[in-house]
Amino acid sequence: MDVQVQEKENVTVIYLDGKLDGNAAPLVQEKIMTHVLAGCRLVIDLSKCDYISSAGLRILLMIAKQLAREGGKWGLSSASPEIIDVMDMTGFNSLFTHYDTVADAVSALKKEA
């Protein structure tokens, strides 16, 4: 898994490329958590993430909980319909909003800011 970070209009966009599973989880957690700060605005883009395992879902959930504690706002973008369905069916979708594109996510989070 490759993790790239970009700043766009005061929103941190994190691009995940590859499989988000138990092997990738520690790296992803480490890279994302440094951006989970009070009042942060965060987008995790999944356009190049073709698979999320149980461990991967749990990483996203932990990020969501941490963000809620810190008062940050965040969203996912560009997840495949299958990944969105999996998140829904396994109950992992309650803590975030999904946007079709990074641009949508950035503009929504920026507005909320």
Partner: protein, 705 residues
């Protein structure tokens, strides 16, 4: 916290190891690795077998060093495992001496009896690779879940309305209109429907991992594949059926089931699991080695003195439920489903087997049943027994209960059916059934709710078939119509099977309404078979265990066609919920202990206060005094129910109410829809307060207020 036992002490090839913890059994994620623990009393050695997920050959076979065994338990921590991507099993050596009950075979790879996720049949109906050396693969499971504030609902048992369903059959039919038909996720999509119907509990037919391909075969009649569709044959007791999960192909079935339970709870609906502890999918001596047989045959199964399998289950073997080891496994299993899945209760298939000793003899006070009755974690769970087995034990009314166990009341089903189809000699026994069967449960602190009342269940005719067929039509099962019960007490209303005759269909609809009305005014806990509320048919098949097709799948188009039935059921369910007089936990006392002027229940007939108890009677009526609702703790109006199961109309003289109170019509199954049932609050004031003409084969319900 720093610990001194988190580092490896041994190696095996590239694998780093340490002695494990014997408890809990199974595979547990621990800091840095996975703890594997398995019991076998008669094993001489044990190996852990690891596969990359779905790989045909193992990537490692790690013997448990002798110092890793404590007592009869082998336990080991393996460090740095990519546990999301492995399958694990065991190979166990020991004596092969069938006459002495031992069948160890160190060449077999055995599934962990405590496996929380089981692969191998990940997608329903996908043909397995029969050459695979490890068919049912234990996998490692995350046991965390974001439950928020979810908690088992603990709906008082007297207020429960159970809805029995097959996870796949509920939504597999294309007419269901869900995104992932036949899955746990699809049930979530149907929650609005369940709420509309008004039930507050779903009872799921077996959802433990089973093998739909067990004894699969082509039907000699139509060439269709017949499978183990119902799933009353466990591969593993701790793992949900992967093939029922839309996410089973990703191994996420645990989270999918938990998400379903959480969502049902959020909507006020409890979850009861139908659990099958009477046998396993290993069958008899000709069956496969899946797990138990190769781990410790003699411990897990009840064996004949010659070492063959006793068959009290009718399925080849009998789980040795009152062996202390097996008893603990069952307890661990139920605790796991209650604590980790927030399940609200259990219905035990062929539960009488759970009361047999290690030689198969029924016990007076079976330790397993007592343990479950008093277990602290299961303390608020509903425990429901199917109080018979295939070995001839029939314990309806006498199941060892300790005031905790309820029963599927098979006598209720049979008596109600016989009464509805117009048999004589039934009014006396019907009076018992309507009261929560005090003749069966009036002892030992059991009460009305020890009786789970039902007219139909998965096993037997659907309600529509009960009024459409005189006999079973199981030809499609490929056994020359010899399978399935013959004691259906059904009546086809004049024509066998589907009919275009309006008179036949009108009578059928009325008989269905009669059954629904009586079920929902009976004391005890009612259970509705899913689909009955819209007239689902199995075309006379009363044993559809192998039919993974339109025979078993609910046809949701019927909901539109038979709207009249659905509306009747929906309003009847609501009627029950609104009237606490129908939901007493204890049996009636047949006296006026509230000083209302009326006893809690009184019996009537065509003449008020004078029921016809004669052998030729087909009429009966009763009145519940609202002041006695829930033993006087709840307020209700009076309820009068008249039952005329004769083919002629009869006038029923009505009991007089206290001054100023009047009778209102809530239900009259003889009236055309929508006048057959009135919404609560919309009941019609009766013109003639002295008598009601009850139509042929009809039920009338009045409220007095």
């Amino acid at each position: 916290m720093l610990r001194v036992d988190l580092s490896p002490t041994h190696t095996h090839g590239e694998y780093k190891l340490r002695v494990g913890k014997p408890l809990p059994f199974g595979a547990t994620i621990v800091p840095g690795g996975v703890n594997f623990s398995i019991y076998s009393r008669h094993a001489t050695s044990c190996e852990l077998v690891l596969f990359e997920k779905r790989a045909p050959k193992p990537c490692a076979i790690i013997p448990f060093p002798d110092e890793f065994r404590i007592g009869n338990v082998f336990s080991m921590i393996v460090f740095d495992l990519d546990f999301e991507n492995i399958d694990y099993g065991f190979r166990i050596d020991g004596p092969f001496n069938p006459e002495a009950g031992q069948r160890f075979d160190k060449t077999r790879i055995l599934m962990d009896p405590y496996a929380k996720v089981i692969g191998g049949r990940d997608v329903w109906g996908q043909a397995p690779d029969w050459d695979d050396i490890y068919q049912h693969r234990a996998r490692i499971c995350f046991d965390d879940f974001d439950w928020d504030d979810d908690h088992p609902l603990e709906v008082p048992v007297e207020d429960l309305i159970i809805y029995e369903m097959h996870v796949r059959g509920f939504t597999k039919h294309p007419s269901s209109g869900v995104k992932y038909p036949g899955t746990f996720a699809a049930i979530r999509e149907k929650i609005p429907y369940l709420k509309k119907l008004g039930v507050n509990c779903v009872e799921l037919m077996p959802i433990h991992e089973f093998d739909e391909f067990e004894n699969s075969r082509l039907s000699p009649v139509d060439g269709r594949l017949l499978v183990n569709y119902w799933g009353y044959s466990n591969v593993g007791f701790f793992a949900p059926k992967a093939g029922f999960a839309a996410t089973g192909k990703f191994g996420m079935q645990v989270d999918e089931v938990k998400a379903l339970v959480k969502e049902l709870h959020k909507n006020g609906i409890e979850v009861i699991l139908d659990v099958v502890f009477n046998h396993t999918a290993e069958g008899n001596e000709r069956g496969p080695y899946i797990s138990y047989r190769g781990i410790d045959n003699k411990i897990y199964y009840i064996l004949t003195p010659e070492g063959y399998y006793f068959n009290f289950s009718g399925c080849g073997n009998t789980l040795n439920c009152n062996n202390p080891i097996v008893r603990n496994m069952i307890l661990d299993c139920l605790r796991y489903w209650a604590a980790d899945y927030h399940v609200d209760g259990f219905r035990f298939d062929l539960a009488s087997i759970l009361g047999r000793d290690q030689y198969g003899a029924p016990m007076h006070s079976p330790p397993l049943l007592e343990t479950l009755a008093f277990d602290p974690i299961l303390g608020k769970c509903k425990l429901i027994a199917e109080a018979w087995d295939a070995g001839g034990l029939y314990q309806v009314g006498s199941f060892p209960a300790w005031g905790r166990w309820a029963e599927w009341n098979g006598k209720y089903r049979d008596d109600l059916r016989r009464f509805i189809q117009g048999e004589t000699g039934m009014v006396g026994v019907m009076s018992q059934r309507l009261q929560g069967s005090p003749d069966l449960y009036g002892w030992l602190g059991r009460g009305a709710c020890a009786s789970v009342n039902f007219v139909t269940c998965h096993d037997g005719f659907t309600l529509m078939d009960f009024v459409s067929y005189n006999g079973k039509h199981n030809e499609a099962n490929g056994e020359n119509n010899s399978d399935g019960g013959n004691d259906n007490y059904s009546w086809n209303c004049g024509w066998e099977g589907e009919s275009t005759d309006p008179a036949v269909n009108k009578l059928r609809a009325k008989q269905i309404k009669n059954a629904a009305a009586l079920l929902l005014v009976s004391q005890g806990t009612p259970m509705i078979l899913s689909g009955d509320e819209f007239g689902n048919t199995q075309w006379g098949n009363n044993n559809a265990y192998c039919q993974d097709n339109e025979i078993s799948w609910l046809d949701w188009d019927l909901l539109n066609k038979n709207k009249e039935l659905f509306e009747f059921f929906r309003k009847m369910v609501n009627f029950r919920k609104v009237h606490p007089a129908l939901r007493s936990r204890t049996h009636f006392q047949n006296k006026d202990y509230m000083g209302s002027g009326y006893a809690d229940i009184t019996w009537h007939g065509t003449k008020a206060w004078n029921a016809d108890w004669s052998a030729t009677s087909r009429t009966l009526a009763f009145m519940l005094c609202g002041k006695h609702a829930k033993e006087g703790k709840a307020k209700d109006c009076s309820i009068y129910v008249a039952m005329n199961m004769h083919w002629d109309m009869h006038g029923f003289e009505l009991p007089k109410l206290l001054k100023g109170m009047l009778w209102y019509v809530a239900v009259n199954t003889d009236a055309p829809s929508p006048q057959d049932i009135w919404d609560v609050g919309e009941e019609k004031k009766l013109g003639n307060q002295g008598e009601f003409l009850v139509g042929p084969r009809s039920v009338v319900i009045l409220t007095g207020k």
